[in-house]
Amino acid sequence: MTDYLSLAKILIEIGILWFVYYGILLFARGTRGVYILRGVILITLIFVITRQLGFDRINWIFTKIFALSILAFLIIFQQEIRRGLANIGQRRWSRFFLKESEIISEITTTCFLLSKKKIGALIAIEREMRLENYIESGIEIDAKMNSELLITIFMPNTPLHDGGIIVAGERIAASGCLFPLTQNPKVLTTLGTRHRAALGLSEETDAIVVVVSEETGGVSVAIGGRLTHDLDRESLERVLSNLYRPDKKDRK
């Protein structure tokens, strides 16, 4: 009985540590912190290996570097850490109360209104991976989602219409954001910059990127480096509701 209890304790402790590490890695994935985090993980692994092999002097050096790198991490990324801690209280939990269908409906309405008028649009929807880097490249908006605002942003000859919009949770996080262009040589040369940017972002992150073509008015979706062309309203709604919250099926 005591054995089972201590085993359960160990598993719970490892589970807690796993949860914390997963949260940190997930948070750092979309920010500049990922590079320094990689360094810290590498130093930790070397530290553990040298310790196990009994290389005392090397271990001593790495212990010192490890202590310094944690300090450096805290100083250099204090802004990100502050933002992350603030997000624990705000964003993650607000997702449970999100009116998902309303957001999907607003995005779909926007895309098809813009499609009718042949106005180009690029909308990235954040999922598990954070898009902080890309939000920083644009102009922060942080406004409640509504189709009127989205349409206004994409109106030609306005200051914010260039670049893409990022939707994070139930809010429009930023507009005029720069997305990486795909480097995939297999991508058709007929595709414009907007579609290439959509593909590029979907290759590097898990975001869903919706594109409205300026030339044809066609609505496409890029997910995981794949582009699906010329969707109708129903298909777009279906794709968005299936992918917007991947844990949806599990919770039923």
Binding site: L17, Y21, Y22, I24, L25, L45, M129, D206, P246
Partner: protein, 60 residues
């Protein structure tokens, strides 16, 4: 369930490995600490048995 497993699969694996390493490292440190305390207790007890005046403040 399958979705949960495949989403960010490598991040989950890396974080699990780190969690296990951290647990073993901290466990080892705790055992060391306990042993050290035991050792200190033992030596002070032995010294007290050998020399009863050890650790006693001199009476003025």
């Amino acid at each position: 369930m399958n979705n949960w497993m495949t989403n960010n699969f490598w991040i989950k694996i890396v974080s699990l490995v780190l969690a296990v390493i951290t647990w073993f490292y901290v466990n080892e440190e705790l055992i060391k600490e306990k042993n050290m305390v035991k050792q200190l207790y033992k030596t002070s007890t032995i010294r007290q048995i050998q020399n009863p005046s050890y650790n006693k403040k001199p009476v003025k």
